[in-house]
Symmetry: C2
Subunit: 353 residues, 2 copies
C-alpha cells in the first residue's frame, strides 16, 4: 500500500493464473493448454513475418484477421472484435457492455477472473448458484440484471448448456447484453455463434489459446452485432491502439486457415478425455460430464488438496481451487495420451498406497 496508489488499486484483488513452473519433465495439467503443437502453417507464417517490417506498426484494426474470423463465422468484419487474448476481450466487454445500474449476473462457480474485472471497473454483481450437480439452469437467471456472462462449457466444471438454451437466455433478457465465453467450446459443445444474427444482445467470445494450441501467442476475439462490437472498439481505441502485434496477426490468420489440423487435434483431445473420465471413474472418482479439454473430479475418500500435493510430489501438476463448494475437486487438463496414462497411474499408486 502506498500514498501514490489510486483508490481503485488499493481495493483490487488481482486474478492469480495457474502457475507456470519452469521444471523440466513435468506433466503439466494445470492450465488447460493443448498438448499438441499449433499448425505448422502458424510457425511458417510467424517466421515469414519476422523481418525488417517489425519496425512498422501493425494494422491497428487487424482487418485481415477480422476478415478471416468473419469468413469462418459467416459474419462481416464489423461484427468481429479482436484482442490480446480473450482475457483482454473480456476486460473490454466488462467495461463497455456489462457495467450498468443493475447487477451483472454470473454463476457462483465459474471463471475466477469475472469478479476481478468487476473489482477493476466498479461493477456490481450477483452470483447465481449452479445446481448441486454443477449444471447451469437458464431459468435461475430470471432476475433484474444489467448483463449476464457465463462460460459455455463452464469453467472449471466442463459442463455445457445446449445452444437452444443460450438462445432462450438471450431472448429472455433482450434489454441486457448476454456474453457467452466459449473458450472451451471446440471440444464438443454447441457454439452460440450462429445465434448472433438473431440476438442483438448476444456477444460470443473465443480464444485461440486452447483448441488452436496458441496460448503463447495471445489472440482472442468476440463476435456480435455491429453496435456491440463498436462499443468494444471505442474502449480499445481509448486504451491501446495496437493490441495485436504483427506476428500474432499473421499467426492467428494461419491458424484459422488450417481447419484440418484444428479438427484432428480436437478429436484427439476428445478421445483422450473419454478415456481419462473412464479411468478416473474406475479409480472411484466422481467426474462432472465434460465437453471441455479438462475434467472436474473429486474422490469421495480423499482430500483434494492432499491429492494435488501427492501428484505434485510425482511431478504431475493439476489445479486445485480453495473456494466454497469446489475445494474437494481437482481440475485436470486433458493432456496427451501418455500424460493421461501417467496421471491415472500416479493416482492409482496414491490411492492404493
Amino acid at each position: 500500500m502506498s500514498q501514490y496508489w489510486s483508490e481503485i488499486v488499493r481495493e483490487l484483488t488481482p486474478y492469480v493464473p495457474g502457475e507456470q513452473p519452469r521444471l523440466a519433465n513435468l506433466v503439466k495439467l494445470n492450465t488447460n493448454e493443448n498438448p499438441y503443437p499449433p499448425s505448422p502453417r502458424v510457425i511458417a507464417a510467424i517466421r515469414a513475418e519476422a523481418d525488417a517490417r517489425l519496425r512498422l506498426y501493425p494494422d491497428p484494426n487487424a482487418d485481415a484477421l477480422k476478415q478471416a474470423i468473419a469468413t469462418r463465422c459467416g459474419l462481416t468484419p464489423r461484427e468481429v472484435f479482436v484482442g490480446n487474448g480473450s482475457d483482454e476481450v473480456l476486460a473490454h466487454a466488462f467495461m463497455a457492455l456489462l457495467k450498468h445500474e443493475q447487477p451483472l449476473l454470473f454463476p457462483d462457480i465459474t471463471y475466477s477472473f469475472y469478479p476481478v474485472y468487476c473489482g477493476l471497473y466498479g461493477i456490481d454483481y450477483l452470483t447465481v448458484p449452479l445446481a448441486a450437480d454443477f449444471t447451469l439452469q437458464i431459468d435461475d437467471y430470471d432476475l433484474p440484471n444489467g448483463g449476464i456472462i457465463l462460460p459455455n462449457p463452464n469453467a472449471p466444471t466442463g459442463a455445457a448448456v445446449p445452444a437452444a438454451e443460450i438462445a432462450r437466455l438471450a431472448a429472455k433478457h433482450r434489454d441486457s447484453v448476454v456474453v457467452i465465453d466459449e473458450a472451451y467450446v471446440d471440444f464438443g459443445a454447441e457454439s452460440a455463434v450462429p445465434l448472433v444474427s438473431r440476438y442483438p444482445n448476444l456477444l460470443v467470445v473465443h480464444t485461440l489459446s486452447k483448441s488452436r494450441s496458441l496460448a503463447g501467442l495471445r489472440v482472442g476475439y468476440a463476435v456480435g452485432q455491429a453496435d456491440l462490437i463498436e462499443a468494444l472498439e471505442r474502449v480499445k481505441n481509448s486504451f491501446n491502439s495496437y493490441p495485436l502485434d504483427r506476428l500474432a496477426q499473421a499467426g492467428a490468420i494461419a491458424a484459422l486457415e488450417d481447419e484440418a489440423h484444428f479438427d484432428a487435434t480436437r478429436e484427439r483431445i476428445v478421445d483422450s478425455r473419454e478415456r481419462l473420465v473412464a479411468g478416473l471413474r474406475a479409480l472411484g472418482f466422481e467426474v462432472v460430464p465434460s465437453l471441455a479439454n479438462f475434467v472436474f473430479a473429486r474422490h469421495p475418500g480423499r482430500d483434494a488438496a492432499e491429492l494435488a500435493a501427492a501428484l505434485r510430489a510425482k511431478s504431475i501438476i493439476v489445479r486445485h481451487f480453495k473456494l466454497p463448494r469446489i475445494d474437494q475437486h481437482l481440475r485436470i487438463t486433458v493432456g496427451a495420451e501418455e500424460e493421461c496414462r501417467a496421471l491415472l497411474g500416479a493416482l492409482a499408486a496414491i490411492l492404493h498406497a
Copy 2:
C-alpha cells in the same frame, strides 16, 4: 449509440492513431517509426521461439525480460513493469497512479492519448500551456495536482527538458506521482531513469517501438520504485495476466542485448535529423529544436493542411494535427537519408510551384 453501451462508452472520444496506409512506394513519415530494421538478433530470437512451445502460456510475469531491463537500468526486476506497448503501460499508470481527487496535470500540447485515458478512467485533468516557443517550464506546474505526466522529449514538438529539471519537478511534487514518458529519449535527450532511486514518486516509461525499431512487436516498460510498480502489477493482473506473448518477450530481450545496433541506428537518425532541420530551415520553415526522431515545423507563408495534402499527392505522408496552437505545424518523422531528401525535394517543388 446503443442501449447496451455503458455510460463510459457513450462519452468516450477514442484516440486516432496516425494512418497505416497500405500503398506501396510511400514515403511514410507520419507515425515516427524507425527507418532502419531491428537488430538481426531480434529476428533470430523470434524465429527460434516460434515452435511447438506456442501451445504453452508465456511467462505471465516476463521475468527474463524484466531482468534484462533492470540490468540495463541498474535496477532490480521489482522496479520494472512491462506491457503490450508503452500505450498499455501508460493506460495502467493512469488508472493505478494518476487517478486522484486533485486534477492530473499535463501540457496543453502533448501526446493526444493522455486526455483519452482520462476520459476512459474518469480522471479530472488540467492542461498547462507550453511557452510560446513550445518549451516546457517546470515552474508552470506549481499547481495543486493529483499527478503530473509529460513526454520528454515532448510530442509532437520534439522539445526536451534536461534531467535536472525533471529532478526539480519530482522534488517539488513529492506527494504526487510524476510520470515521464520517454518514448523518444534515445535520440539525444537526457533520461530520468537514473533519478528513479532518488525519487519515490517518479515513474519513467519507455518503448521499444522507436529507438529499437520494434513498433510491430508491441513492447513497452516502466521503471520506478517497487511500490509504484506494484500498483501497475495489481491493475495488470486484474486486466490480463499474459499481455506479452512468447515471441514479444524473446524479441525484446534480444533487442536489449544488442547495444551496438541500437547505438548505430540512433546515431544515423540523429545525423539525418540535423540535416533535415537545416534543409527545412533553408526552405523557410521554422523548426522547433528537436531531440526526438521527428521534427515539428511550420512555414510562415503556407497553410499546413495544404502542405500535407500537397505532399500526399506526391506519395509522402506526414502528420498534421487539427488542434489549437499547432494547426499550422507539420510533424515529420526523421526517415532514412533518402526519404529525408525526397521530402525536402518535394517541399521545394511545392513551395516554388
